[in-house]
């Protein structure tokens, strides 16, 4: 065993070394250089993930850690990108590079937006307290080397300080135009007291995409994230959200994923102020044996009377794999915690599989925590009922699939965004047939 562990460690270090040798840390000075160096040290200490790591047993990370990204064909969706008809401040990245021409002016009342590289070049900046800081905190219980890797090597991104209630959402648009792009983006958001921001994200971003998003929410602040990860079939993505919530603050995130070869979405939330609320939800549609979609969520309750919800729905067929690893950690003293977690899969045939690993770890004695996980096929009774009213089988199956996903979409507070996603889902389902 000792030998096997040593060999595994060596293998991890070799992979890590091979990956790191192709890269150099982006230029930075002062505190930013230190932040990048510390992140690099974390990667070297932990080693990049391996299939044998506890939280990578279900999804093979090798295509995320190899030096050269696997090629990903471009995909023309033939439709206007989602959120197109929503008034928003657009910030466009093409294969991981900010495109000022395609973007709106980075100016909006109630927020300050800067390009990450500009912010990291300044001697004094608020982002110093966020960049790599929340990511570093996320390793306390579980190592997340890809997140540290992202902090060390991110080449672009934005930092957003929210001081008021901007009149429209900020929209990050990720275009994928090169079959071999390997994008590393990192964004930081600081929501000040009583301020509110809605962040929209859409698009596949790159052939291989690494993204970190750190969100620091002060007391009574609110942050909403709605993202759609594009429809490219061959892209790969490893994303991480690291949020810290102050008193009476709100964090709500919803992610829709369709297609893609490998998607690993991690979300690590720390409730540090009393009476805060954190909801994380997501839905994915996966088709084909190459499809692997992994939601890994870790919510830490470290304050009283906080509420957290995790709601994930996966529709899988033709050998697609869905993964959910969700944890609620309630620290001692986090009394009156209300923690909820549900993960469900709709398996459209017998080849699809859903792997769930729900975890609760509770050190306080006055809490209400529940979790559940289910896998099921389309309800035959409901199918017959719909068909007996004249609805053709394929259409009936689509209606029931949408109904399954609807419960996750209901987690989105703003009906406009929920409807935008619902409409897209309906048209995608209709197009692909059954």
């Amino acid at each position: 065993m000792a030998m096997a562990r040593a060999a595994l460690r060596q293998q991890k270090m070799d992979t890590t070394e091979a990956r790191l040798s192709t890269l150099s840390l982006p230029a930075a000075t002062g505190w930013a250089e230190a932040a990048r160096n510390e992140a690099l040290a974390r990667v070297q200490e932990m080693g990049l993930p391996h299939r044998r790591d506890e939280y990578w047993r279900f999804a093979d990370p090798s295509s995320l850690t190899v030096a050269e990204p696997p090629r990903a064909a471009l995909f023309d969706t033939g439709e206007a990108p989602i959120f197109s008809d929503i008034d928003r401040l657009r910030i466009v990245f093409v294969d991981g590079v900010f495109d000022p021409e395609a973007s709106d002016d980075l100016a909006l009342e109630g927020i300050e937006i800067e390009r990450l590289t500009d912010a990291l070049g300044k001697d004094i900046h608020w982002v110093r307290d966020v960049y790599g800081v929340l990511e570093a905190r996320s390793h306390e219980k579980v190592h997340r080397p890809l997140a540290a890797f992202n902090t060390a090597f991110a080449t672009d991104g934005v930092v957003i300080r929210v001081t008021g209630k901007p009149s429209k959402p900020v929209s990050l648009v990720y275009l994928h135009q090169s079959e071999t792009s390997d994008a590393i983006l990192h964004h930081c958001v600081r929501v000040e007291e009583g301020a509110e921001l809605t962040l929209l994200e859409n698009g596949p971003a790159a052939a291989r995409f690494s993204k970190g998003l750190e969100v620091d929410i002060a007391d009574t602040g609110a942050f909403h994230l709605i993202r759609s990860q594009g429809r490219d079939h061959e892209r790969r993505a490893a994303t991480g959200i690291f949020a810290r919530l102050g008193r009476e603050s709100v964090f709500k995130a919803f992610t829709l994923t369709v297609n893609g070869v490998l998607t690993r979405n991690e979300c690590v939330i720390e409730l540090t102020g009393d009476d805060a609320t954190a909801h994380v939800a997501g839905a994915c549609l996966g088709d084909g044996k190459d499809f692997v979609h992994d939601d890994t969520v870790f919510v830490t309750h470290d304050a009283q009377r906080c509420e957290s919800r995790q709601v994930f729905k996966k529709v899988l067929r033709n050998g697609a794999t869905g993964i959910f690893q969700g944890k609620i950690l309630v620290k001692s003293g986090a009394q009156k915690t209300d923690g909820y977690q549900i993960s469900q899969s709709l398996l459209l045939d017998e080849d699809a599989q859903f792997l769930a690993k729900p975890e609760l770890e509770i050190y306080a004695d006055d809490v209400a925590c529940s979790h559940g996980s289910t896998s099921g096929a389309i309800d035959a009774e409901a199918m017959f009922y719909l068909q007996s009213r004249g609805v053709p089988a394929a259409e009936a199956a689509n209606l029931l699939t949408l109904a399954f996903v609807a419960e996750a979409l209901e987690e989105i507070e703003n009906e406009t965004y929920a409807e935008a996603l619902r409409a897209r889902l309906a048209s995608w389902l209709e197009r692909r047939g059954h």
Binding site: D379, A380, E381, A382, F384, Y385, L386, Q387, S388, R389, G390, V391, P392, A393, E395, A396, L399, L400, L402, A403, F404, A406, E407
Partner: protein, 251 residues
């Protein structure tokens, strides 16, 4: 309208014969009632006619307006004009009642080569029909049958029937779980749909329902066959004496 000849049906999964030669002819414009003790095959017949999985037809035929329906998918039977009001309407969380009905109406129109109904026309129509059945507009917005009371579910079945305007309506124990007022409401809904080119097959245990929906012919079903047919008086006889007398008489 509906012509069933020597229909034999067994369960797909086990070697159990349920229908053992049903002969039944329902003419356009008429109302037929089927009564019979539990386990006689009444509900099975309604399921087999509407195309539910789990049954195997081992003999006989069933035609609707001259077309063989037994080889059709359930949705094709519906488009051909068949409608089954379920004994236990299915709850479908996440599918709005209105969306469901609009999808169904338009799917049937499409199957028949007709143009789809515009959303304005559809809304107008469904509001009017819902009002007739005293269906709260709120029920239209909710998920199909979810949280509906027994009476609301049955009224929702009749609403669907009114919207889809089928030719042949089969009502499977529509009276079960209804109080007197609800039964009256449902019956009025059914009676409003009676017309010379539409027929009804009403499956029931009780004569009560037949006071409201007056049948032209009453059949008694037992052990997978129709054992006796007659006028409305046959239902009264069942109500008074039970099935025992009739069954011993035909045995």
């Amino acid at each position: 309208m509906l012509d069933i000849k020597g229909l034999h049906v067994k369960l797909e999964e086990e070697d159990k014969q349920i229908l053992k030669g049903v002969d039944l002819k329902v003419e356009a414009g008429s109302v037929h009632a089927i009564m019979g003790p539990n386990g006689s095959g009444k509900s099975t017949m309604s399921y087999v006619l509407s195309g539910r999985d789990g049954y195997e037809v081992t003999g006989g035929s069933a035609t609707l307006l001259g077309e063989d329906i037994l080889g059709m998918d359930p949705e094709e039977r519906a488009a051909a004009g068949l409608f089954l009001a379920f004994q236990y309407p299915v709850e479908i969380p996440g599918v709005g009642n209105m969306t469901f009905l609009r999808t169904a109406v338009n799917a049937q129109r499409k199957a028949r080569g007709d143009e789809e109904m515009s959303s304005t026309d559809f809304l107008k129509l469904i509001r009017a029909k819902a009002k007739d059945l005293q269906i709260d507009p709120d029920m239209l917005k909710r998920s199909v049958n979810v949280g509906f009371s027994g009476g609301e579910k049955k009224r929702n079945e009749i609403l669907q029937m009114a919207m889809l305007e089928p030719k042949m309506c089969i009502l499977d124990e529509t009276d079960s779980g209804l109080d007197v007022d609800a039964m009256k409401l449902v019956s009025d809904g059914v009676n409003a749909l009676r017309s010379p080119d539409r027929a009804f097959l009403v499956i029931t245990h009780y004569q009560r329902l037949l006071d409201h929906i007056r049948p032209d012919v009453v059949h008694i079903m037992s052990d997978g066959r129709i054992v006796k047919s007659g006028g409305p008086e046959l239902a009264l006889e069942v109500e008074k004496n039970g099935y025992a007398d009739i069954l011993s008489e035909v045995a």
